[in-house]
Symmetry: C2
Subunit: 482 residues, 2 copies
Amino acid sequence: MTFRKNEFSVGAVALAVVLASLWLPAFGIAAETAAAKTGGPKVADFKLANGLELVVIPDHRAPVVTHMIWYKVGAADETAGKSGLAHFLEHLMFKGTAKNPAGRFSTVVARIGGQENAFTSSDYTGYYQRVPSEQLRTVMEFEADRMTGLVLTDAVVLPERDVILEERNQRMENNPRARLGEQMDAALFLNHPYGKPIIGWRHEMEQLSRDDAIAFYKRFYGPNDAVLVIAGDIEPDAALKLAQDTYGKVKRVDGLAPRQRPQEPPQVSPRSLTLADPRVEQPAVQRSYLVPSFATAKANKLSGQSEALDVLGHILGTGSNSRMYRSLVVDKRVAVSAGAYYDSSALDMAKFGFYASPGAGVTLPQLEAEADAVIAQVVDKGVTDEELERAKSRMIADAIYAQDNQASMARWYGQALMTGATVEDVRTWPDRIRAVTAQQVQDVAREWLDKKRSVTGYLIKDTTAPVQQPAGIQPVKAEKRS
Amino acid sequence: MTFRKNEFSVGAVALAVVLASLWLPAFGIAAETAAAKTGGPKVADFKLANGLELVVIPDHRAPVVTHMIWYKVGAADETAGKSGLAHFLEHLMFKGTAKNPAGRFSTVVARIGGQENAFTSSDYTGYYQRVPSEQLRTVMEFEADRMTGLVLTDAVVLPERDVILEERNQRMENNPRARLGEQMDAALFLNHPYGKPIIGWRHEMEQLSRDDAIAFYKRFYGPNDAVLVIAGDIEPDAALKLAQDTYGKVKRVDGLAPRQRPQEPPQVSPRSLTLADPRVEQPAVQRSYLVPSFATAKANKLSGQSEALDVLGHILGTGSNSRMYRSLVVDKRVAVSAGAYYDSSALDMAKFGFYASPGAGVTLPQLEAEADAVIAQVVDKGVTDEELERAKSRMIADAIYAQDNQASMARWYGQALMTGATVEDVRTWPDRIRAVTAQQVQDVAREWLDKKRSVTGYLIKDTTAPVQQPAGIQPVKAEKRS
């Protein structure tokens, strides 16, 4: 089904886009500016009796609403050996309930001129519709119904499994850069499930069953494990009333455990790997470092470190004024593209990365050495006040401009609440960015851009004839116990 | 407690020793030879009504018996996030039952002049005693009692956790080569729990609780999940009678699932990593390839491949006549040590590896290139008939000599039965080795010694001042669900 987008970590390009979602808005200094332009969204935050959190972001510029339900479950919450299950369930959520057979929800959304979408990440799964505001109740009724009412039979589950397998083919196996990212994640995370692909390992996806999906659904889907975000042409009290009438009737899910995943041991060995693929037209070198996310920085009292990494990512690698781009592409002409990124939004640790593709006659080790020199320059000499101010202004301005998009607003709040941040954390992001100092930027570069915490990936063209890999080693079939 | 040895994969040296355990014995041509020397052990294999398998290896040369109980559970069966639990439970098994308080079992074994030991691997956990044969019933009563009768309180669990943490300090953290092996395993296995250290990741060991240990014990310990191996001065029927009188009274454990662990995706990227440690006196390069084990070769109808890998390991890297040693140490003098190994005994896939330490003035990349040249020679030209015959004769002879040791015999059968092989498979091992051809050896080298399936580790001296690593990133504390 092509209308649904999934969130995979498909490498640097996708991550650079995610970076832009880093965030803004609402009150404070940013809000003053925003208020002049948008009428000043006042974000309301409620909790229903059954545990559902409701965030409302009024925006009356057009008579539409964006309705998003976010579940606090993603690929990192899957049982070992069941990779791909969170995303598989996302697909299966469109298969109907006792009350609303498969297809009815989507048909109604289409008939009222709405759009719908769903996405799965390591930390969350979400569903959304954008509809005329008078139709909000309708989608809320449908969405509340499928929160616990999903009906699955093998007749719908098994063909959908073929769909996700084909999706893996298209998005991962036919995409050398995505394959490189998958291998790098597996090498970066020694113990944490972030090392598994969100789409799943093929051999495990092939075994996913109806029982697996139902068990996962019953374990994680319920009002007390979800956040509802509504942005658009509605007032908070009206949204609350609608939520109580619809979601308010859904029973809590029992036995929810705290979200604790296996954590990383100390990272002590610089790693590297090479992926050769016959389809590579543009070789590349990439590196991922394991660094604090916003949530882990907060939990570990590394005050301001996530924000300093945000600014570092911007100075080092966002846009054609960035250090990486200017040094490698403009000045030394050793690269045809180069950049860096940091995505703070992860419940557990986050990644900081860079990427570059060599110009003609430049080897990957040469290019890597040049990129390392750019990083060493920041570590040794820090950043200038001028580039610091330019980066901060640009980041805050981008965030304010982004308020113009209702769906982005809903998305940012949802993503923050799924990854250990609060509405207040989102609100104060611009202030915290504004407070970042040049010394902090240098400090986080020195502390965290340590190769011991990293994996370097080389993407090269495979110029040998395509060779059949040895068949995977299959497990011993159901090793008997006596 | 120092009297118990644990099985960690502590790198090449230990593995080379394990290799020698590969195996032999009992009937067939080997047994004819053996019979002349040992009186010809006839291995008996029984199954009790409660599911306990009993293997008896009579050996009447001395009035002693080796009594080993093997449980089909190891580090690879731990829940994600609970690494070290199988080994922790091994320690806790000495903490007493309602009937036999802590220390009594060990005291009795010592008083009767016996020895005891225990060990944990990825695939199994075992306990053994070597005692005068008239004391066999005594140790069987004790061991049957603690199969399901263990009593644990926080007062014994928490101090023992400090013991295993200190064991990790001594065996892993103070041993650069062990640290390298740990990092290489984590990089080799992208998905399978063999990538976790048997001793556990420190941060997870620190959280192991009494409840974790009890849950693991109740889930996995019972007669239907165990194999009892008795070697020594006893006849099969007498051993069976004793087993029925003791273990026969222990109730089955319910709900045992088949032993299925998360499996590996296709291995597509050569990986490498570097561990720098100030205590390194001798740098080294090591490589591990993911290859079939005996069990997975059998399950995948790769007939003879495990045996061909056995022979390849011997020709390539066992002893001073091996290709690696002769080429790198004797002929080219680029190494001060070099070898290769293969350990077939794993329920899931196995590792094939080589290691070398450079001579003065030789860099690790130079040494690695020389080792790669040795492998390329075997892949391209195969092995000679003469070295094939020499290797096979030596392997079979080693196995026959090893029959001389009662404990080794018990151990080999136990290990085989824990890792997907049968008594018959053990029995026919010499015949299968004898059947390996030079072509098969070349074929497995070509198919499996593919760098895409490997990780290469570099151990170097850290010559910078010992720097404090950044603190690990701690998880967000108990991320609240609503």
